[in-house]
């Protein structure tokens, strides 16, 4: 916990400008890790707080559409969030604040990498393992890898394209909608895509 909080949108803006990048990452990218099954209305904490706690749906909507994986790095993401809030506040006479709701409490997190010891050498093996692993594995390889390695696609799509030579499947996986929100939905979607390819192979 960072030990800082915001009671209104101006404080939110000023604190976002100052917080460590680990905190920005916690409230945006790692949202998936904390909501593996069910999520709030928007896929980042700033949007959800504005909409639910401040009851400012307009800012909630503007921040809610942000895809943190569209940005080159966290500083670029921070700049965009600051710009959105700044522009929103410039159009208001009164700064929206929490009256009945909770202040925004800033947090930060670190990723601990844990080798699972599991290896896949074919699509069938990959599909089988994916169905049973902890959902954090999906976050780590499908989302976190994009930022960690500065690539356009996650580990799954890259491996499927390069090692299994299945570019079409890789592309479909890389295009899975970020706004599906929960890791379980993402798992379900990837398994479904793999099954389609495996069924075609069986029929041949």
């Amino acid at each position: 916990m960072v030990g800082r909080s915001a009671r209104d949108e101006q404080q939110l803006l000023e604190t976002i400008e100052e917080i460590p990048l680990d905190s920005l990452s916690y409230h945006t990218q790692s949202f998936f890790l904390r909501h593996k099954y069910i999520a709030g209305p928007y896929p980042n904490d700033f949007a959800t707080w504005a909409a639910i706690q401040v009851r400012d749906r307009v800012l909630g909507e503007k921040l809610g559409i942000l895809n943190p994986y569209d940005f080159e790095n966290l500083e670029a993401l921070r700049t965009e969030i600051v710009n959105i809030i700044d522009e929103h506040l410039s159009q208001l006479q009164i700064i929206p604040q929490v009256i009945y709701g909770e202040p925004f409490h800033f947090m930060q997190s670190r990723i601990i990498e844990v080798p699972t010891g599991l290896e896949a050498r074919s699509l069938a093996e990959f599909r089988k393992i994916l169905a049973t692993v902890d959902a954090s594995v999906i976050y780590y390889h499908n989302f976190e890898a994009i930022l960690r390695l500065g690539r356009k696609v996650g580990d799954f799509a890259l491996w499927i394209e390069e090692q299994l030579n299945l570019p079409e499947l890789a592309q479909k996986i890389s295009r899975i909608d970020f706004y599906m929100i929960s890791l379980e939905s993402v798992r379900h979607q990837i398994i479904k895509l793999c099954d389609e390819v495996l069924e075609k192979e069986t029929r041949r």
């Binding site: 916990m1 960072v2 030990g3 909080s5 593996k36 099954y37 069910i38 709030g40 639910i52 009945y100 909770e102 202040p103 409490h105 947090m107 670190r110 601990i112 844990v114 080798p115 699972t116 010891g117 169905a131 049973t132 692993v133 902890d134 959902a135 954090s136 594995v137």
Partner: protein, 400 residues
């Protein structure tokens, strides 16, 4: 003896294997938990399961308790109340009694461990006697978001010497020069309070408690304490009763450390008088199976608290697939995702409206019950707690 593998059937996919991998990184290290009681209360309940599971996964886990005089526990009770915002007077003599008991315990206990976790304010001053190289962590289970300043200043002089502090909600974080971590409390799905019960077991227990099963049941499990708003629950029930023939069960222990507890209980009895459909059950602290059976038999569970620490009874009820309506207080707001895993409300009227809404829409009740159970499975089971401990040990080990 609990085994992590016993949890495979109830926890999310891959969790057990993931925890085993995570444990490999800290295997062989020793963690020592110290608190003030092994009996009763949520902390002791959680520690019991935590320690057994840590041992099962290859961590040398130990749990010790401090001993103290009656005067000491009176002082720490005052601490507890003052840290939760109540006005309390603490004399110099009382502070000295606190210090003295901690010193005596420090002479008696061995702190030979890689991680020494001190729970709550009672043993917090043990840090003064730290001689070993282990990492010391202060685990605070109570709401200190609005503490009485003098008491918090006294306690803070010890807390700042720890390597880290852990709180149960983000809002409990303080301005401290040490890292602060968030670990939500959790429930043990295999304990007597939460394990599956057969319909026969349930009906046997309900019949022993004299609770009929012929009407839909509203249930609140909590101490008879004003902050839990039992009178508000009765008012809510009366508003709903106009349109639905149901019964209300208020079950809980008397708050023995709360002088107001008896008064609240008699007010509740008075308010319920002459209504055969209101059942007030005064249960002993170890009535885990009874609470389990009541929660499983309920139609809707209420936790209409006005002020709350974390409120794990919400997760307990959600784990049993029940829709929960809770007050917008403390950790209830973390457990209930509004409209998805239950409803948070701010008034008697709000609670009554949501009960009507659920009773009139059984399919909504079913969906909320299912989603609530999954939400608890992902976020509030003991295995998540175990993962948090392992991650913390990993983190603290790395920063040495």
């Amino acid at each position: 003896m609990s085994h992590l593998d016993d949890y495979r059937e109830v926890v999310p996919k891959g969790t057990v294997d993931f925890l085993k991998c995570l444990a490999e990184r800290v295997k062989g290290r020793k963690i020592l938990h110290i608190n003030s009681t092994k009996l009763g209360g949520g902390v002791a309940e959680m520690l019991r399961s935590d320690v057994l599971l840590l041992q099962d996964i290859g961590i040398e886990a130990e749990w010790q308790i401090i001993s103290g005089t009656e005067e000491f526990f009176n002082v720490t009770k005052c601490f507890h109340n003052a840290l939760q915002g109540q006005d309390q007077h603490l004399s110099q003599q009382m502070l000295e009694a606190y210090w003295e008991v901690n010193k005596e315990n420090a002479r008696r206990l061995s702190f030979d461990a890689d991680y020494v976790v001190i729970h709550d304010p009672q043993p917090a001053a043990l840090i003064e006697s730290r001689l070993t190289q282990g990492k010391w962590v202060w685990r605070c289970h109570i709401d200190i978001s609005r503490p009485q300043w003098k008491v918090w200043s006294f306690l803070k002089q010890f807390v700042v010497h720890y390597n880290a502090a852990i709180f149960s909600l983000p809002r409990f974080a303080q301005r401290l020069p040490i890292p602060q971590f968030l670990i939500y409390p959790s429930i043990d799905p295999l304990s007597d309070k939460n394990r599956d019960l057969s319909p026969q077991e349930q009906s046997r227990i309900l019949s022993r408690l004299n609770v009929p099963t012929d009407k839909p049941m509203l249930l609140q499990v909590s101490r008879f304490d004003r902050f839990k708003d039992p009178l508000g629950v009765i008012q809510t029930y009366r508003l709903v009763k106009k349109h639905h023939d149901l019964q209300l069960v208020l079950a809980g222990g008397e708050a023995t450390d709360d002088p107001e507890g008896k008064t609240v209980l008699s007010e509740v009895r008075e308010a319920a008088r002459e209504d055969p459909d209101i059942h007030i059950l005064l249960l002993p602290a170890d009535a885990n199976l009874e609470i389990n059976a009541l929660q499983r038999s309920a139609t809707i569970v209420l936790q209409k608290s006005l002020r709350e620490g974390f409120g794990l009874t919400v997760a307990e009820a959600m784990w049993k697939g029940k829709p929960v309506i809770g007050g917008s207080a403390g950790g209830i707001t973390v457990q209930i995702v509004y409209g998805v895993t239950g409803f948070t409300v701010n008034s008697v009227e709000g609670a009554a409206f949501r009960i009507h809404h659920l009773l009139d829409n059984p399919e909504v009740m079913t969906k909320i019950g299912e989603d609530g159970k999954e939400y608890v499975r992902q976020n509030f089971l003991i295995t998540r707690n175990l993962g948090d401990w392992l991650a913390l040990m990993n983190y603290l080990g790395r920063t040495s």
